[in-house]
């Protein structure tokens, strides 16, 4: 879902840059709970590992029926691990690195951050939070609740991001809206399955290997 240079019109490009920068500035001030703890410095090397995981999974595409392919976006996954506000910054930085290789345009980093970081991460996190609240009424184990919620939340967030991306394509005049939105949503309804499965497996693995790295448990209010 990496928008290349030259696809969006200048106004949409500028507006999405401004929105993304504003959200990152707000995010810096809002992500206090997790990063103001005395032992928060211990998180730094693991944030590096997370960066490697996200870059690696975004670098390779898995096959999707119908002659297309998908790759992990990871917004919701990062949000569940590091919190919704940090996820926007993480995705922005990953997108900057990818643009150096020509994967996603440099002028489109604002739009890509909006779609993958803000919709995928921030919005995805609150979808996960809502699902966790529903699952809190069941007797499932804590890690299963978060894993299931991450799978569903990632899936919904990726489909929502594709819907927004379709609207952006239409505003930019690349495609008529009646073509762009259904086509984007259709493909991502299939591609999103991979996103949900990979995100859930990574969260489940972290719960088994290093559960304290899921820094958002208190925000998710998982019981």
């Amino acid at each position: 879902m990496h928008i290349p240079d030259g696809l969006l019109d200048p106004l949409t490009t500028i507006v999405l840059w401004i929105v993304s920068i504003m959200i990152m500035i707000i995010g810096y001030f809002r992500m206090g709970k997790i990063f103001e703890k005395e032992d928060s410095e211990k998180l730094i090397p693991y944030i590096g590992v997370l960066a490697a995981v996200i870059f690696a999974f975004q670098f390779v595409n898995y096959p999707v029926p119908g002659g297309t392919s998908g790759h992990l976006v990871g917004g919701t996954l990062v949000a569940v691990i590091l919190g919704p506000w940090a996820s926007v910054i993480v995705l922005f930085l990953i997108l900057v690195v990818q643009s150096l290789f020509g994967d996603g345009g440099i002028t489109a980093i604002g739009a890509n951050t909006f779609n993958m970081g803000i919709i995928g991460g921030l919005v995805g996190f609150y979808i996960v939070m809502g699902i966790v609240r529903i699952l809190n009424k069941t007797n499932l184990k804590k890690e299963l609740k978060v894993t299931i919620a991450t799978a569903i939340g990632s899936y919904i967030a990726i489909v929502l991001a594709s819907f927004i991306c379709g609207v952006q394509l239409a505003i930019a005049g690349a495609l008529p809206i009646q073509v762009a939105v259904p086509a984007m949503v259709f493909w991502h309804l299939i591609i999103g399955i991979g996103e949900g499965i990979i995100s859930a497996l990574i969260v489940f693995y972290i719960y088994k290997a290093k559960p304290e790295f899921i820094a958002t448990e208190s925000i998710l209010k998982v019981k």
């Binding site: 879902m1 990496h2 290349p4 240079d5 030259g6 696809l7 810096y28 206090g32 990063f35 103001e36 005395e38 928060s40 410095e41 998180l43 730094i44 090397p45 944030i47 590096g48 590992v49 997370l50 960066a51 490697a52 995981v53 870059f55 690696a56 670098f59 390779v60 595409n61 898995y62 096959p63 999707v64 002659g67 297309t68 392919s69 998908g70 790759h71 940090a86 910054i89 993480v90 930085l93 990953i94 900057v96 690195v97 990818q98 643009s99 150096l100 290789f101 020509g102 345009g105 440099i106 002028t107 379709g166 394509l169 690349a174 495609l175 073509v179 086509a183 984007m184 493909w187 991502h188």
Partner: protein
């Protein structure tokens, strides 16, 4: 002086991730777990406007690392840059937040 032992497991993890990525690039396409096909957005644009239209979109720059043709090298360099960039930025954020908190 950086205490390397303290960062042993994160460093091992990063090298493992690079190793697994290189292995996946080497065998993933032949065993069918990876695909060269266009992704969702590219598919929509190619289906409606054609591949040549997508390739002719104007860009204000030549991506700095686009000269790297090998997937193995690009994956390794990308991971190293991502790890360094993310570590530095979050080190600054966490240090700044802790300093503000402690007055």
């Amino acid at each position: 002086m950086i205490n390397v032992r303290r960062y042993r497991w994160p460093l091992i993890s990063v090298f493992l991730i690079i190793g697994v990525l290189l292995l996946m690039i080497a065998i993933g396409y032949s065993i069918g777990v990876l695909s060269d096909n266009p992704d969702g957005l590219e598919r929509v644009l190619i289906d409606n406007n054609g591949e040549s239209w997508l390739e002719s979109l104007p860009s204000p720059w030549i991506p700095l690392l686009s000269w790297i043709e090998s997937d193995y090298f690009a994956g390794t360099v990308g991971i190293i840059i991502s790890v360094c960039l993310m570590t530095i930025i979050f080190y600054i954020i966490i240090s700044k937040k802790n300093r503000t908190k402690n007055g």
